[in-house]
């Protein structure tokens, strides 16, 4: 679901990055957030609410609402809508409040 041609904007997709989402190998581009890369791969469910386990996607995309929290490289509660994708990242859906180590 990437925009291929746009009347005003050009998107920089020079460098491909690979990452792991819940055990699956996916591809994104340098400069995009984790949530955007997942969305481009048709993944909208980023986690589940901790009590009723309802599916959660992002809502605000600017780091305010925490609806996009995921586990990234073993760190829970990462706001994936404002965290840039890195090569080799391991991203998991989060379904609890996260645990202190």
């Amino acid at each position: 679901m990437r925009i291929s041609s746009h009347p005003i904007l050009k998107f920089n997709r020079d460098k491909e990055l690979s990452f792991i989402f819940d055990g699956r190998k996916l591809v994104g581009y340098e400069g995009e957030t984790i949530a955007a890369a997942l969305h481009a791969n048709n993944i909208k469910v980023l986690g589940h609410s901790s009590v009723k386990h309802r599916p959660r996607g992002f809502y605000c995309a600017i780091g305010n609402c925490t609806s996009c929290n995921m586990i990234v490289n073993d760190e829970p509660n990462v706001r994936t809508c404002i965290t840039l994708l890195e090569d080799g990242m391991v991203v998991k859906t989060q379904s609890n409040k996260g645990e202190l180590k």
Binding site: M1, R2, I3, S4, H6, P7, I8, L9, F11, R13, E32, T33, A36, H39, A40, K44, V45, L46, S49, R54, P55, R56, G57, F58, Y59, C60, A61, I62, G63, N64, C65, C81, I82, L84
Partner: protein, 362 residues
Amino acid sequence: MKHYDVVVVGAGPAGMACAINATKHGLTVLLVERDDFLGGQLIKQTHMFFGSEKQYAKTRGIDIATILKKELLKQDHVDIMLDTSALAIYDDKVITLLNHHDYIKVKANAIVVATGASEKVLAFPNNDLPGIYGAGAVQTLMNVHGVKPGKSVVMVGAGNIGLIVSYQLLQAGVDVKAVVEASDSIGGYLVHAQKLRRLGVPILTNHSVKEAHGATALEELIIWKLDENFSGIAGTEKRIETDTCCLSVGLKPSSEMLRQAGAEMTYVRSLGGYVPYINQNHETTVNNLFVCGDVSGIEEASSAMVEGFIVGLTLANRFKNVPNFSVLMTDLKTQLKDLRAGETGEHIMKGIKQIMRGDHHA
């Protein structure tokens, strides 16, 4: 602990303008920004701005961000910290920051909170399904990252953001099935509404969302007609198959930090939510704690920018003498007044009157 004349929180149009003017007139400034880029929400605004030449009218928002950035990077006495969230403001004007994973303390003579606003949500059953997003969120996804939110969209709210984002969705190749508006008229500029109508997008006034359905993400939306009390009318339900719904139902100031810092706050509906009492200089009830932009009342980027310049100039003149201060200030205040001319401006001015106190530091 590093000491600055001014710490500005937020590098959107207001914060950048404030930092530019403060440092241009000789102050040392630290500008902190949660994101890893400058420009705030300007970086997703592909439409051309209104206003006058001084606020870069007829220029796209994304290009205004570049202009401000260039101006800021020309200055010698400004430090910029990206990927940095401001955590708390203390009585002695110490501000704590989280720079990526490092905890930092900084001291300032004055702090400016320019944290902007966030999108409101509309209450209806299953409004938490993935696929239901803030309109601004979808704008970020499309215009910054080049990713479509889905195959088709129903836009809720026919204010300027709703109309502009609908048009941008069409530009990105997404089918906009309808724009749904609860009131009996279109809130945004008609020029934006006409563009949509010409492309065959229906704008349904007196309509709202009844409920959403979907197994793990949005699949269909039920809309219905509203009566004059904004209650849904049974029997008028329409089912729309769609994988995306955008909520464009207003913004609220991100003013939590001001309350934490001890500023006196009040709820003003026409300004979008809880806002601080301010004086003519945009100073809150806490000495040397200032605000500019949407955090003290929802308006638009042009006025946020002018407010930023006003606060930057005010601070420069407070800590260092600015020789032509009154000429510069009169010009900025005139610009702000002109931007607030007209019906929307009147509405905003009424709100501002409720928070404006002439003398709380007298």
